[in-house]
């Protein structure tokens, strides 16, 4: 399955300010991100003929992409709204790549935002926390969102001897990288002991094993690899993409310790003709620390069960064997909900362009970005390259 390999490129990528952004509404964040990405691409809104958005929890519209098009007064021939939780970003880009490669449209603007931190009333914040899980078969047992992921962590620890210190190493690495990123929401470095001494939320997950709640938006512009050469900035090529979908509810999961990241990764590697050894920088979905450990295994960076040992000793930090979440990730950069992994894409683009200053990965040529949504339910992996390959 090589059909999309190197067919499309990202020619614009930008983030709004993130973290606490009380002066912009959710819709304004979408539009601001879009404007910044168009400027980065060096094009006008009239050159956009495809628009894709994620749904907003805070300001939902039945036809959200049409709403953003209307607000911006653009009139696309391809207009789509997608929601697969944290996997949304990459699934959207997969849709966009398919549309571009088949000639449905030429230039797709993807914008994603939300303001989960500043935009929710108390009631809606409670709704956001408590409506996860099956209404009849999960919610009556009172599982908080971290609790769902704690079930995964506990199973991994039991099966493979993964430790709380190893989970904490993921949070420490993300924070270290965020400390080098002036845009990040949380920049004060932390230690493994800080994570272990933070409040226990749902055993074995501490407060600092959990990601942030944020405001923010990001956007990218995609076009065909042929057209990509005509834009302002150096294009970043999509070498491979793949998805995997295993369940909706964690109580129905085939496995707690192996996820559909395995299929997503295998499909993306096969399309790109590359493997884990070729990856210079990884941006992995990190809503909770154990997720990163399972993704590292399922994406082939280490054997199953070795993820805990893999993250030790600075291997995943800048200067290490596989620097990951170089912007700080959902743990420390920002996590506004659905848009989460679009910040991983914009970071990967900027890394491959060599624009990341003190957090730049030296000679970064190939990046892997992975998003997962639901409770390890929907997965999408994307491999991006500086060269068309």
């Amino acid at each position: 399955m090589e059909s999309l390999r190197s067919q499309v490129a990202i020619v614009g990528a930008a983030d709004t300010e993130v973290g606490v952004v009380p002066h912009l509404s959710a819709t304004q964040l979408y539009v601001k991100a879009a404007k910044l990405a168009l400027e980065d691409a060096g094009i006008t809104k009239e050159q956009v003929d495809g628009l894709i958005t994620c749904t907003s929890f805070v300001e939902p519209y039945m036809y959200h992409a049409e709403m953003i098009a209307e607000y911006m007064q653009i009139f696309p021939r391809y207009c789509l709204n997608v929601a697969t939780g944290g996997g949304t970003t990459l699934a959207i880009m997969h849709h966009a790549a398919s549309a571009i490669a088949t000639g449905v449209c030429n230039t797709v603007l993807i914008t994603m935002a939300d303001n989960m931190l500043s935009g929710l009333s108390r009631d809606r914040a409670i709704e956001a926390m408590s409506t996860a899980g099956h209404a009849q078969f999960e919610r009556p047992y009172g599982p908080p969102i971290p609790g769902f992921y704690a079930l995964i962590a506990q199973a991994h620890m039991h099966a493979y001897g993964t430790t709380s210190e190893q989970l904490a190493a993921v949070a420490v690495a993300c924070r270290k990288h965020a400390s080098l990123n002036p845009a990040a929401q949380m920049r004060q470095p932390i230690t493994i002991d800080d994570v272990l001494n933070s409040k226990m939320i749902a055993h074995p997950l501490h407060l600092l094993d959990c990601s942030l709640v944020s405001d923010g938006g990001a956007a990218v512009v995609m076009t065909s690899a042929e057209r990509a050469k005509d834009f302002k900035n150096r294009p970043v090529y999509m070498l491979g993409v793949g998805e995997g979908h295993s369940h909706e509810h964690i109580s129905q999961a085939r496995s707690l310790t192996t996820s559909a990241a395995k299929e997503a990764g295998e499909r993306a590697y096969a399309m790109a003709g590359l493997g884990p050894k070729d990856i210079d920088v990884a941006e992995l979905y990190d809503c909770f620390t154990p997720v990163v450990i399972i993704e590292l295994e399922d994406l082939g960076f280490c054997p199953k069960g070795e993820g805990g040992r893999f993250v030790e000793g600075g291997r995943i930090e800048l200067g290490g064997e596989l620097p990951l979440n170089t912007h700080g990730g959902l743990m420390s950069h920002c996590h506004p909900g659905h848009p989460g992994s679009l910040f991983s894409i914009t970071e990967a683009v900027h890394q491959l362009r060599g624009e990341c200053g003190p957090r730049q990965v030296k000679e970064a040529e190939i990046a892997l970005v992975h998003g997962q949504g639901g409770i390890m339910s929907t997965h999408c992996s994307m491999i991006l390259g500086k060269e068309r390959g």
Partner: protein, 136 residues
């Protein structure tokens, strides 16, 4: 755990009614496929193993093992505040299907993966009893 009215009381659907009817009688019911012998939970129109539409309701043994668990310290809503710390667990029934529940009847720190458990019921309303699990 007590069951204050603010807890999310399940609302049965036509598809799940036989399950909740069983719970009301303190009987854990799952579906079994007469064609291939597969047991499944939650209830579905078809057998997920062979797609037969002749799935039947059977009484489960009510026994299983803890597949994984967490001890919740920060409750999901105020309705669960009085219960912390409480155990949310995934249980693999002896018949095969897995489901979410709470492990009750022992201190949370005694719960372990692989621990044998059996069903017990909490009467929440006149019509709804919620299945939970306690150590065997």
């Amino acid at each position: 755990m007590a069951a204050p009215a603010s807890k999310p009381v399940p609302v049965p659907t036509r598809e799940t009614q036989p399950y909740w009817e069983g719970c009301k009688q303190h009987e854990l019911r799952i579906q079994k496929c007469p064609a291939c012998g597969h047991h499944q939970f939650y209830p579905r129109l078809y057998c997920t193993a062979c797609m037969s539409d002749r799935v039947e309701w059977v009484k489960a043994s009510g026994r299983g093992k803890v597949l994984s668990f967490t001890i919740v310290y920060r409750p999901v809503t105020q309705a669960f505040a009085a219960d912390v710390p409480y155990v949310v667990a995934l249980i693999t029934l002896d018949e095969g299907p897995q489901l979410m529940s709470n492990v009750v009847g022992c201190p949370p720190e005694k719960v372990q993966i692989g621990m044998p458990v059996e069903v017990t019921f909490e009467d929440w309303t006149e019509d709804i009893s919620v299945p939970k699990f306690k150590p065997v």
